[in-house]
């Protein structure tokens, strides 16, 4: 077990360095230091101001190789700062990035966690129900409904939902966010609802397949022969054994709960980490972007390890080494 963990973590470290290198290459394909400066200072900034800004922020160094001082390059600086968790300040407005992270985590979580939990519960419950009543009218209708739900582009879900619930029925504010506990639910109702509906189709189908697979096993037949009721069979045998693939699906998602949902946050005006990432990409804010990607990579590795551990815990046949 220990050897496994060590191997995985070492591997993870190599991956993270790879991610940082790839990010550096990608970003400076997309934007030059001049672009970063111009986005920060505004279009009307004169060349002198741009040059000064680059000096102030360390963008006037050579990118990859500096003959005079091999470690005084932008790449070296980039790697050093990320690996020592020295996040620094945003390129767009010089805010300390740690502060921005702290501000953005809570709004993201208030959206993604309810979305995730509600989505999971609804999908599993529905899948269990139709797996139990396989090939009934309900099952067939649900299958078609799922395909229909899946076939609508998510943009239409969002725009249609905002139009219907916010404008025509006036049940919820169309967008915005206020973390005060008394009113926060008002703002989350619509994005959570739409988010759940948009993914319900494919989730139910996936879980249904999983449950059906279990249902065809021999021990289920034995259970029925023993005299268990169908609901008992589903709950006590099928669900428990189907936990493994479900767990794999679920645990891998947990790290991404922190990074936020880009589409939903953008359309519903929720100032979370997803918006922060998009703003960083559009605003050529390299300092913020690399922190987001770095943390994303760490979370991803953590998620992988957690999945494997959970898998081992749930299925006694699996051994990690």
């Amino acid at each position: 077990m220990l050897a496994y963990l060590l191997r995985r973590l070492a591997f993870g470290a190599v991956t993270v360095v790879g991610v940082l290198l790839l990010l550096f290459a990608l970003f400076f394909l997309v934007a030059t230091p001049d672009d970063v400066a111009r986005k920060a200072l505004g279009e009307k900034a004169m060349p002198e101001a741009i040059a000064q800004w680059k000096t102030n922020h360390g963008y006037d160094k050579p990118r990859l190789w500096n003959a005079a001082a091999p470690f005084d390059t932008m790449l070296a600086e980039h790697l050093r700062r990320m690996l020592t968790f020295d996040f620094g300040r945003s390129d767009a407005d010089d805010t300390p990035i740690v502060e921005r992270l702290r501000e953005g985590v809570w709004p993201s979580l208030t959206l993604t966690v309810p979305l995730f939990v509600l989505g999971l519960v609804c999908a599993v419950a529905l899948a269990l129900l139709v797996a139990y009543r396989r090939d009934s009218a309900l099952d067939r209708a649900t299958q078609v409904a799922c395909v229909v739900l899946m076939s609508v582009p998510i943009l239409l879900w969002i725009v249609g939902g905002q139009y219907l619930l916010g404008k025509m029925l006036r049940w919820f504010p169309i967008s915005g966010f206020d973390p005060a506990p008394a009113v926060v639910l008002r703002f989350l109702a619509m994005p959570v609802l739409i988010g759940v509906l948009a993914h319900l189709g494919q989730e139910v189908r996936y879980y249904r397949t999983v449950f059906l697979e279990e249902r065809n096993r021999d021990y289920v037949r034995t259970a029925y022969a023993k005299g268990c009721s169908p609901s008992q069979v589903m709950r006590r045998h099928v669900l428990r054994n189907a936990l493994i693939p479900i767990l794999t699906n679920v645990v891998i998602e947990i790290p991404f709960l922190f990074t936020g949902s880009i589409l939903l946050e953008s359309f519903f005006g929720i100032p979370g980490l997803g918006t922060m990432t998009v703003d960083a990409i559009n605003g050529n804010d390299f300092a913020t972007l690399r922190v987001m990607v770095f943390l994303g990579a760490l979370l991803f590795i953590a998620g992988q390890v957690a999945t494997d551990l959970a898998y081992a815990a749930a299925d006694p046949r699996v051994r990690l080494e």
Binding site: E48, W171, G176, G269, P271
Partner: protein, 661 residues
């Protein structure tokens, strides 16, 4: 087999339980609907004079020497009072004294330098802030001094601050020397550890900025530059207390100055969650609130003068002390459509009209009956800006290098574009087709001038194109339609539609104009390499002087030449000479003649196809009073007033949740 049989028998008790559960949930939902509301604000705020606004992008910085975007200025304009400001109602725009007692006159010197002397008001205080405890325990404020303005100007010169307007202020005598001395002084670690104001003192200060006494400041320029006074109406030159800069350095958990502005304006920043919410509250220390007896021009609502005031609203407010509002609440709205819908629901007091909802609100230049019944008010005024399509004059096909042939081609293309139709399609008709770079309201604009190459006429355009050597659009060298690249920097669907309209127009001449759409960065790259032929741009003026527009075609400002904003790379020696002449003149008939001559050159050479001057508008609810549209992002919220009771009642009426109609 066994399982199947069991599955077909209905589970009566389970179903009944399930039905009961569903029923309970439904009942909860229905009662819950009563508590449903789409109001995003706390109910307690309904009775107060709070203004609600939306903003699409978060401010970048609130450091007054750095902030240069519109959103930044909404906040800095309210928090920082400047020495001068614009009269709210009079047009053309004119300056009035604010923190200064009077408008200074330029005093020429023997060596060609010019000085301006400002006298500050005695008794103006800063907002309350803990940073003033540096000057004595328990102190929360102090008087505004001339030294604070000098400090602001020194910060503009400070390379570490990175002010974007340092080039403009380089005209101040000794500013550049000061920058160099400051950088040199900082080489000494002991000096670099000092707070900013002491560093500036060590470096000796700016030679051309002299503090004569606590309230008097003298500024010296190397050469006459009448437009400098406009810069004293912008937050760049607002007095800034050294205590704030010394305290808010972002270390040890303290705020940074960019997030914690301390000014002497009518409002103070009360809350700043940049990505979501900004709150400004009335500043009780503002000179207009503390000394209403001064009847200072910047603290009293002006008389309507020549402005149309049909309903007497402006006259009723005239002479009243400012500000009227208690608080300003701003919310971030990244998407335009939801923001506008919330405005129509009464949750924002003013809003830009988005193109999609325009017909809902405006028809044939006036409010629709439905909008008027809701109490909406609409005011339009032309903005000091210009949108245009430019030619890269360095190009060999469309530019100056092609000589007479290129000129005829540009003239033909200019003759084909119908700006009125463009505005009808994309701006709902708002805007004025432009005849020259100068917009209305700027000295040198001639309302009767008609640019012969901007009166759309496809037949004449086709004839001119034939004269250029491209009959029917065919390039004789290839035998096919002449191909021109239209390099645009916006890939959004909405923008592409506008570019396609122009492409279709030129297709009518037989030209094959191809859109090469890239994002902003790649466009800048193309411009840097000179790899572009046609481009589209817009410019909104910083201050109401023709120099701020005509400099966009001044040779030394050329993009290829010096990286300046003259992206057309227009370099005509006659025009450049006239520009240098015009720049130093005060508004006079002679200046008008020079501008006319410059316009004649532009008319002939056609480096731009001028599209339109954008029209600004103020669309606001009936409970918001005293709104007058202004351009150049001027601070105007201190003039606004509102009726909270009426607003609360209208909101309730417009927003009953669906079943409870």
């Amino acid at each position: 087999m066994i399982g199947r049989t069991r599955a077909t028998r209905p589970l009566a008790p389970a179903t009944a339980r399930a039905a009961a559960r569903v029923g309970a949930v439904a009942a909860l939902l229905v009662t819950g609907l009563g508590a449903c509301t789409n109001n995003p604000y706390p109910d307690a705020d309904a009775a107060a004079k709070i203004l609600y606004l939306s903003y699409p992008v978060a401010p970048k910085t609130l450091d007054p020497q750095v902030a240069y975007s519109t959103v930044d200025h909404v906040v800095t304009g309210a928090v920082f009072d400047t020495l001068l400001e614009y009269h709210y109602l009079d047009r053309p725009y004119r300056l009035i004294p604010a923190l200064a007692e009077a408008l200074p006159r330029p005093e020429p010197r023997a060596d060609g330098h010019v000085t301006y002397r400002f006298h500050l008001r005695d008794g103006a205080l800063y907002q309350d802030d803990p940073c003033f405890a540096r000057g004595g325990a328990g102190r929360t404020t102090r008087a505004v001094e001339a030294a604070d303005v000098a400090f602001a100007l020194a910060r503009i010169a400070d390379p570490q601050v990175g002010s974007p307007v340092i080039d403009t202020f380089a005209r101040v005598t000794g500013l550049r020397d000061f920058s160099t001395r400051l950088a040199a002084a900082r080489a000494d670690a002991a000096v670099a550890a000092l707070p900013a104001h002491e560093q500036y003192a060590r470096a000796g200060g700016i030679a051309g900025v002299r503090v004569l006494d606590a309230r008097t400041l003298e500024v010296e320029l190397d050469a006459p530059y009448p437009q400098i006074l406009f810069w004293f109406a912008m937050p760049f030159t607002a007095p800034l207390p050294w205590e704030a800069v010394a305290t808010y350095d972002g270390r040890d958990g303290r705020d940074r100055l960019a997030d914690h502005p301390v000014g002497a304006g009518p409002f103070a920043l009360a809350r700043y969650d940049r990505q979501a919410r900004i709150v400004l509250s009335r500043n009780p220390n503002w000179y207009g609130v503390r000394h209403p007896e001064w009847r200072a021009p910047g603290a009293v609502f002006p008389a309507p003068g020549a402005r149309d005031d049909a309903d007497g609203m402006l006259r009723a407010a005239a002479g009243q002390p400012l500000p009227f509002l208690e608080r300003i609440e701003m919310r971030r709205e990244p998407e335009a459509v939801p923001a506008f819908i919330k405005f129509m629901q009464g949750y924002y007091d003013t809003s830009p009209i988005i193109r999609e909802s325009f017909d809902q609100v405006v028809q044939r230049g006036a409010l629709t009956a439905e909008a008027a019944a809701r109490g909406l008010r609409l005011e339009t005024a032309v903005m000091a800006g210009v949108y245009y399509v430019g030619f890269n004059m360095d190009d060999t096909v469309v530019g100056a290098a092609a000589g007479e042939r290129g000129r005829a081609l540009r003239q033909a293309m200019s003759l084909a574009v119908d700006a009125t139709e463009f505005l009808r399609l994309f701006n709902n008709g708002l805007g004025i087709p432009a005849q020259s770079p100068l917009p209305p309201g700027i000295f040198g604009y001639a309302a009767t001038y008609r640019n012969p190459w901007r009166q759309p006429d496809l037949t004449r355009a086709a004839a001119r194109l034939a004269e250029a050597g491209y009959p029917g659009g065919i390039d004789p060298a290839t035998g096919k339609a002449l191909r021109i690249s239209f390099d645009v920097n916006n890939t959004a669907a909405r923008a592409l539609l506008q570019f396609q309209f122009l492409v279709e127009t030129w297709k009518g001449l037989g030209l094959d104009v191809e859109i090469a759409a890239t994002d902003y960065n790649q466009f800048q790259d193309k411009v840097r390499r000179g790899a572009y032929q046609l481009f589209q741009w817009g410019w909104i003026g910083d201050y109401p002087d023709p120099e701020n527009f005509l400099f966009l075609l001044y040779g030394p400002m050329g993009r290829a030449h010096s990286g300046g904003p003259n992206t057309a790379n227009f370099a005509d020696p006659a025009y450049d000479a006239l520009f240098e002449q015009m720049r130093a003149l005060e508004n006079s008939p002679q200046r008008a003649r020079v501008i006319d001559a410059m316009r004649a050159i532009l008319e002939r050479e056609r480096p731009w196809i001028e599209l339109f001057h954008p029209e600004d508008y103020a669309l606001h609810h009936g409970w918001l009073a005293n709104v007058v549209p202004t351009s150049m992002s001027l601070p105007t919220m201190k003039y606004w007033d509102l009726d909270p009771a009426r607003r609360a009642e209208r909101r309730r009426a417009w927003n009953r949740p669906f079943p409870l109609r």
